[in-house]
């Protein structure tokens, strides 16, 4: 499966490069409404046609992919760091601290995520630009997604804390923060790395779900969520197969993220 991993990496790099060069590649602004040409079929001017408001679909796909591909890893990084801090500390300290933290984690996991996100979204200030809104959306995802990963990291940290090399480090006089930072955390890297790569597609999907509910990234900024919303009504889409391009790209990107992980890196 090495070739599949390599292909996935190449594919992700190519997509990322295209998105970063969106300003150059895109034939028009993602927000500009060609009002005389709504719902246009693919043409030389509009490679993927135009959407309901006459906006160039190709430009929106490039910018939307950029938003999702840049911010989903950022949110995944935030989640991984929070999970490392909370889970790592709980597992390392153990005892009543671990029990309290894990009880809190269980409580967090039992919260209805979607409703929580909808509620938090409703409480946010209204007068924010689309870019700030997208940052808030992904920051929310990052802040709310740590609990599952924290449980895994806690279990790993607990096992490591009882391992021989930690005992030796303690015997050598290393303790507290130094022990956690210098000896424990580096050994948690593989599992953190795996958690990061798993979180990326999860956040992309979550944003897409929020977008489908109309609660994702604010107009006119595109994201995969808003692009996939066009597929809500399959009966009207069937005649316009080019509308499926964002979905196909989305499937390939999410699959690629999963292929990037080697078998050893996948958490049990």
């Amino acid at each position: 499966m090495k070739w599949a991993r390599a292909a996935a990496i190449v594919f992700l790099l190519a997509v990322s490069a295209m998105c970063l060069l969106a300003n150059v590649i895109a034939p028009a602004s993602y927000a500009h409404q060609f009002r005389d040409d709504p719902n246009a079929s693919p043409s030389r001017q509009h490679l993927l046609g135009t959407d309901d408001l006459g906006r160039d679909r190709f430009a929106r796909l490039l910018y939307g992919t950029r938003v999702s591909l840049l911010l989903a890893p950022a949110a995944a990084l935030l989640t991984s760091l929070l999970a490392a801090f909370i889970g790592g500390t709980a597992g390392f300290v153990g005892g009543w601290v671990e029990r309290c933290v894990m009880a809190g984690t269980d409580l967090f996991l039992s919260l209805p995520w979607l409703f929580l996100l909808i509620t938090v979204r409703a409480l946010l200030p209204l007068n924010v630009s689309p870019m700030v809104s997208v940052l808030i959306t992904f920051a929310m995802l990052g802040c709310l997604g740590w609990a599952g990963a924290a449980r895994i990291i806690c279990a790993d940290a607990r096992a490591l804390a009882q391992s021989d090399f930690i005992l030796r480090a303690r015997a050598s006089g290393s303790d507290g923060f130094r022990l956690l930072w210098r000896h424990l955390m580096p050994n948690l890297k593989p599992v953190l790395y795996a958690q990061f790569w798993i979180s990326v597609p999860v956040f992309i999907l979550t944003e897409a779900n929020l977008g489908i509910l109309g609660l994702g990234v604010a107009e006119p900024l595109p994201s995969w969520g808003s692009l996939l919303r066009e597929l809500e009504s399959f009966s009207t889409t069937s005649a316009q197969v080019w509308q499926l391009v964002p979905l196909i790209l989305f499937i390939f990107v999410v699959s690629s993220f999963h292929l990037v992980l080697t078998k050893e890196e996948l958490p049990v």
Partner: protein, 541 residues
């Protein structure tokens, strides 16, 4: 030979009027949810209202095509005593679906139930003009007089919604006087309405109505599946379609698609003018300025919204009354034109100026505000996005925010923590009294600034005066004059920036005869007793 010829001519004449319609068969269509009640006095949701319309016998009926009031169970009626009293002459010899005879006592019983405060009938709310008892007096010769404690404008038309119930039938609300009765109710799945054998109306040839033997109502929330079932011939019509599905029907079979023109429903936007709202004072000053609101209105290209968002199945809105409302619409008014030059001139009068493509007020604040709308409604989201681009043309930055419906309602009714809102108004009533709760400054639904103790502006005080004046007279001409003035004030001040009136769109299978979809609800089956199915379909069902 002469007899044969005469018969042939008669057949052709009757046939051309649809009078020799095929009888029998089962009509199929979908309800989008299960009816919450089968009690006609408690109907408030669409599904329950559908059942009420198909089964309920009413004293008078608004003809959905002509918008005139027509006799049903009552052959005539008279409003007297300054709009407080109405006297009905009832048809004699009628029976409920279970055979129970119909009399004035049933009307008295229905009114007693309707006005019972313990029942909280939504239909009864329209009759509650003031505190006091509603008196019913059964008169000789099948007459009944109903007296209300205070005058009610448009009293007779309100009886279109009142399905008469039997005082004596052991079947209670299942015994009906309408064309059908509920024969089977499989909760969450379907209802079957069967032809009322005692229905009073007959066609010109003397044949009993309705023609169709039964109606099957399948509960189906998914519109895609509803569309598929229509194209497969499993259902016979879709009463109300949105523009996207309508175009799909047109593409598949244009003969099935019916666009009845602008409906009574409107889409509008308004600014928060509540004095206590948690907004900066300079924004409150913008929103309470008539020039600002007019300028925003003239910067919005309504034609584009109608053409692009609603695919041409909408028309730019003029004001609170749709042109579909034939009597009450003020024909002197026109939709506000798209004129950004004029908009900038109006803004300049209030000290706004355009600097480097950014509009600034006289204190230098860049003009930026948010508009909230309910998430999941793609038409409203698209309208907001188009308005966003339109307003950028005069240097205004508009932030579009979609919120879940409960959060949105909380903001516009309780916290008033919003700047502008884009929503729609579903309007079923033709009479302006139905809009009292919107236009009176003291009303809860006076959305831009609700529940005012005293009118905040002179024009709102004027609207209060005119709305009360039109409600207190029975003279239709005087009422029309007063309400025309209300529409003119609303047009000038624009507390609501009316955007478009959506068209009434429906799809009807060619298997259904005599269907003439209209703009008033129920668009397709308003003449249910006149509908018939083709002989082939009628035989197969």
């Amino acid at each position: 030979m002469k007899k044969f010829l005469a018969f042939s001519i008669l057949s052709i004449a009757l046939g051309s009027n649809g009078l020799l319609a095929q009888t029998g068969g089962e009509l199929h269509f979908c309800l989008r949810s299960e009816p919450k009640t089968l009690n006609p006095l408690m109907a408030a949701d669409d599904a329950s209202e559908t059942i009420r319309y198909l089964t309920g016998g009413v004293l008078v009926r608004v003809n959905r095509l002509t918008q005139d009031l027509e006799p049903e169970l009552a052959t005539s009626w008279k409003v007297t005593n300054g709009g407080k009293t109405i006297t009905f002459q009832l048809r004699d010899g009628l029976r409920f679906s279970d055979g129970t005879p119909f009399s004035a006592d049933d009307v008295a019983y229905t009114m007693q139930q309707l006005m019972d405060p313990a029942l909280h009938s939504p239909t009864g709310d329209a009759f509650r003009s003031s505190d006091g008892k509603v008196e019913t007096q059964v008169l000789p010769k099948d007459r009944i007089r109903i007296t209300f404690p205070a005058p009610i404008a448009g009293l007779d038309r309100l009886f279109d919604q009142v399905a008469i119930m039997s005082a004596k039938s052991p079947q209670k609300e299942i015994a009906v006087l309408g064309p059908y009765y509920v024969g089977e109710n499989k909760a969450g799945s379907y209802l079957i309405l069967k032809r009322n054998p005692n229905y009073w109306e007959k066609d010109p040839a003397g044949r009993p109505l309705p023609y169709i033997e039964s109606v099957r109502l399948d509960i189906q929330q998914n519109r895609d599946i509803e569309m598929l079932r229509l194209t497969r011939g499993e259902i016979h019509f879709i009463n109300s379609l949105d523009a996207e599905y309508f175009d799909k029907v047109v593409a598949q079979d244009p003969s099935m698609a019916h666009d009845a023109g602008a409906s009574l429903d409107s889409e509008e936007m308004w600014f928060n003018q509540v004095a206590s709202a948690p907004l900066p004072s300079y924004k409150k000053a913008w929103f309470t300025s008539t020039n600002f609101r007019r300028a925003i209105s003239e910067s919005i290209n309504r034609e584009d919204i109608a053409r692009i968002v609603f695919r041409g199945h909408a028309r730019p809105a003029v004001g609170p009354v749709s042109p579909a409302n034939k009597f009450w619409f003020n024909a002197k008014l026109q939709a506000h034109p798209f004129d950004q030059k004029s908009a900038l001139q109006m803004l300049a009068q209030d000290g706004f100026r355009l600097q480097d493509n950014v509009l600034r007020d006289h204190d230098g604040h860049a003009v930026e505000f948010s508009v909230i709308t309910n998430s999941g409604n793609k038409y409203r989201e698209r309208m907001a996005t188009m308005i966003q681009q339109d307003l950028s043309g005069i240097g205004i930055k508009l932030n579009v925010v979609t919120l879940d419906f409960p959060s949105l309602i909380e903001r516009i009714t309780q916290t008033f923590d919003y700047e502008a809102c884009l929503l729609g108004l579903v309007n079923d009533e033709l009479d302006p009294n139905a809009q009292m709760t919107v236009w009176l400054s003291s009303a809860d639904s006076h959305q831009w600034n609700p529940s005012q103790k005293t009118p905040a502006t002179t024009w709102e005080a004027e609207i209060d005066k005119l709305m009360r004046a039109q409600a207190s007279t029975l003279d239709p001409k005087k009422r029309k004059e007063d309400f025309d003035k209300v529409q003119e004030i609303a047009w000038q001040q624009e507390p609501f920036i009316y955007l478009v009136n959506k068209n009434a769109l429906s799809a009807v299978s060619p298997a259904v005869h005599n269907a003439h979809p209209v703009v008033l609800r129920p668009q397709v089956y308003w003449n249910i007793d006149q509908l018939s199915l083709t002989s082939e379909v009628a035989r197969n069902r």
